[in-house]
C-alpha cells in the first residue's frame, strides 16, 4: 500500500525531494558558488529525468482523484526533459544571479503542479495543480526584480490568470451544480449536451484557452514572454504549454466526450482565429521573444487542428508534435537566452550578420526555426504534417486549406529571421560569443532531437501504443 503511494507518485516525490534539498541548501548557512550549485542542480535534474523511466507503476490514488498511466508517465518524462533543457539554457543567465535557488524552487514547484494537473482525475486536483503551476510562474516572470518590463509582465500575468481561473471556477461550480460530482469519470457519463453544460464547457474552454494562449484569450502571452527572463519565457512557451495541452486533451477526450460535435465546431473557430492572428502579429515583431511568443501562438492553432480529429492518431500526433516543438523551441530560446544574457540584445535586427560572428549559434537558431516552420528534413515537418493530417481525417478541408496557406505566412516570418542572420549586412554585429558547456549540451540535445525525432518512427509508434483512446 505504502509502496504504491511511493511508486505511483514517484515523479512527484522526486521533485519534492529536489525542492526540499534546495530549500535546505537555501536555509543552510554555507555559501555555495553559483557554478557548483548550477552543475549539481542540473545533475539532480538529469537524475530525475533518467529516473522518470524506471519503476513507473500505473494506478490511481485518493480514490480516483489522482491517477496515472504509462501515457501520463511519458508526458511527465517529456516535461522533465523540457525542465532539464530549460535549466541548462538558463545557465548563462543564472550564473551571475543571486537568487538562483529560489528560481529552481519556484520553477520546480510549478512543474510539480503540472504533474498533479496532468494526472488529475478530479476537478479539485486539476484546479490545485493549475494554480500551483501558475502562481509561482508569475513570481518567476518578475524574477529580474529591477527590470520594469519584468514586473509589468508579472503583473499582467497574475491578474489575467486570476481572472481566467475565476471564470473557470465559475464554470466548474456550475458543473458541480449540474452534475453534483467533480470526478472526471463520473462527469463523462453525466454530461449530455444540455445548454447549461455547454455554457459551463465554454467557460472551462476559456480557461484552458487562456493557458494555451488561444486567440482571443492569448493577449497576456506576448507581453509576458517579452517581459519575463528568457529562461522563464522558454519554460512558459514550452513546458507549461505542453502540460496544459496534455490535460486539455484528457479533459476533451474523456470529460466532454459527449459534447464532441459541439466542441469540434468551437475548436474550429478558435483554431482558425489563433493561426491567423498569431501569424499576422508574428510578422511584425522585432523583439525575438515576442516574435517567438506569437509564433508559438500560431503553433497552438495547429495543435488544435490536430486535436480536432478526435482519434488515436490525432492524440499521438499532438504529443509527438509537442515533443518536437519542445526541442525546436528550446533550441531557439537557448540561443536567444545566451545572446541576451551575454549582450542583452533581444531584437531581430541585432541578429543581422550574426552568422559572420557566431556560425554555430546561427545554425542552431536557423535549424530550430526551420523545424518550427515545418521544413524537412527537420522533425518539425513530420510533426506538422501529422498534425494537419489527423485534422484532415475529419474532411474539413476549409480548415486544412486555411492552415496550409497560413503555413506560407509562418514560413515568411521564420525565414525573415534566417535572412537577418545569414544575409543582412550589419556593421556592428553581435560579438563572437563563447558558448558555455551546459547550454552547448542543451543545444546539442535539441539539435539531435530536431534531426532524429522525425526519422525515428518508433518514437511515434511508442506514443501511439501508449495512447489509450
Amino acid at each position: 500500500m505504502l509502496n504504491e503511494y511511493l511508486q505511483v507518485l514517484k515523479s512527484e516525490w522526486l521533485l519534492i525531494a529536489i525542492i526540499f534539498i534546495l530549500l535546505f541548501i537555501k536555509v543552510g548557512s554555507k555559501e555555495w558558488k553559483n557554478e557548483t550549485l548550477l552543475y549539481s542542480i542540473n545533475f539532480l535534474l538529469l537524475l530525475n529525468l533518467i529516473a522518470g523511466y524506471f519503476y513507473n507503476l500505473p494506478g490511481s490514488l485518493f480514490n480516483g482523484m489522482y491517477f496515472s498511466n504509462d501515457l501520463i508517465f511519458l508526458q511527465k518524462n517529456i516535461l522533465n526533459l523540457g525542465m532539464y533543457l530549460v535549466s541548462l539554457i538558463a545557465y548563462p543567465w543564472l550564473k551571475e544571479h543571486k537568487h538562483l535557488l529560489e528560481f529552481y524552487i519556484l520553477i520546480l514547484s510549478t512543474l510539480l503542479g503540472m504533474f498533479f494537473m496532468i494526472s488529475s482525475g478530479n476537478m479539485l486536483i486539476f484546479y490545485l495543480g493549475l494554480e500551483l503551476s501558475t502562481i509561482p510562474l508569475a513570481a518567476l516572470a518578475n524574477f529580474d526584480l529591477e527590470k520594469r518590463k519584468s514586473s509589468e509582465a508579472a503583473f499582467k500575468m497574475i491578474i489575467s490568470s486570476a481572472f481566467s481561473s475565476a471564470l473557470m471556477l465559475l464554470g466548474i461550480s456550475f458543473l458541480y451544480g449540474v452534475t453534483g460530482t467533480l470526478f472526471f469519470s463520473e462527469l463523462a457519463t453525466l454530461i449530455h449536451g444540455g445548454p447549461m453544460e455547454i455554457f459551463v464547457f465554454i467557460l472551462i474552454l476559456g480557461g484552458f484557452s487562456f493557458k494555451m494562449s488561444v486567440v482571443p484569450f492569448h493577449l497576456w502571452t506576448a507581453d509576458v514572454y517579452e517581459g519575463a527572463p528568457v529562461a522563464v519565457t522558454a519554460y512558459l512557451s514550452v513546458i507549461s504549454k505542453s502540460a496544459i495541452l496534455f490535460i486539455f486533451m484528457t479533459v476533451m477526450f474523456t470529460v466532454f466526450r459527449n459534447l464532441e460535435p459541439q466542441w469540434y465546431f468551437m475548436i474550429f473557430l478558435l483554431s482558425v482565429l489563433t493561426i491567423l492572428i498569431g501569424n499576422l502579429f508574428a510578422i511584425r515583431q522585432n523583439n525575438m521573444k515576442r516574435f517567438l511568443a506569437f509564433s508559438s501562438i500560431a503553433q497552438v492553432g495547429f495543435v488544435l487542428l490536430g486535436l480536432s480529429g478526435v482519434s488515436k492518431i490525432g492524440m499521438t500526433s499532438v504529443i509527438y508534435f509537442l515533443l518536437i516543438y519542445l526541442f525546436s523551441n528550446l533550441a531557439a530560446f537557448g540561443v536567444v537566452a545566451l545572446v541576451s544574457a551575454t549582450t542583452g540584445k533581444e531584437n531581430i535586427d541585432d541578429f543581422k550578420g550574426f552568422y559572420k560572428t557566431n556560425p554555430f549559434l546561427s545554425w542552431v537558431l536557423a535549424i530550430a526555426l526551420f523545424s518550427l516552420a515545418g521544413v524537412p528534413p527537420t522533425a518539425g515537418f513530420f510533426g506538422k504534417f501529422f498534425l494537419i493530417m489527423s485534422g484532415a481525417e475529419r474532411g474539413n478541408y476549409v480548415w486544412i486549406i486555411f492552415a496550409a496557406l497560413n503555413m506560407i505566412i509562418s514560413f515568411y516570418y521564420y525565414l525573415r529571421v534566417v535572412k537577418a542572420i545569414f544575409m543582412d549586412q550589419n556593421e556592428t554585429p553581435i560579438k563572437t560569443i563563447m558558448v558555455p558547456a551546459l547550454p552547448k549540451l542543451a543545444m546539442a540535445i535539441c539539435l539531435l532531437g530536431i534531426i532524429c525525432t522525425g526519422f525515428l518512427s518508433w518514437i511515434y509508434d511508442a506514443i501511439f501504443n501508449l495512447c489509450n483512446f
Binding site: 494554480e131 514586473s151 509589468e152 503583473f155 475565476a166 451544480g177 507581453d223 511584425r284
Partner: protein, 104 residues
C-alpha cells in the same frame, strides 16, 4: 422560518461575480483590481457552498472546494501584492495605465 430558495443565492453570487468583473474592467488601481478578482472568487465559493447545501447535501465536495479556493486565493493575493509592490518600485505608481509599455 421559511427556507431561502437556491435561486436567491445564485442571484447573489452572480451579482457578486459581475460586480467583480466590472471592478476589474474599470478600476485603475491595481489593488482594487485584485480585490475585484477576490470578489469573483468568493462568488464562486458561494456557488459551491450553495450547490452543496441545497442539491447534494450527502457529500461535501463543494465545501472542500471552497476551502481550497479560499486558500489559493490568499496565495494568489500574496504573490500579486508582492508583484505590485515590486512594480511600484520601478514605476512609482500602481495605476494600471502606467503598466502598459509592452504592446502591439
Amino acid at each position: 422560518m421559511s427556507e431561502i430558495p437556491l435561486t436567491h443565492i445564485l442571484f447573489l453570487s452572480t451579482g457578486l461575480f459581475f460586480i467583480g468583473v466590472y471592478g476589474l474592467f474599470t478600476r485603475r488601481n491595481m489593488i482594487t483590481m485584485l480585490m475585484s478578482v477576490e470578489l469573483m472568487l468568493n462568488s464562486v465559493n458561494i456557488n459551491f457552498v450553495a450547490f452543496n447545501k441545497y442539491l447534494y447535501p450527502e457529500k461535501l465536495d463543494g465545501i472542500f472546494f471552497t476551502i481550497f479556493v479560499i486558500t489559493i486565493a490568499a496565495a494568489e493575493a500574496a504573490v500579486a501584492i508582492a508583484i505590485i509592490i515590486n512594480l511600484y518600485r520601478s514605476h512609482h505608481s500602481i495605476d494600471v495605465e502606467d503598466a502598459s509599455e509592452m504592446k502591439y
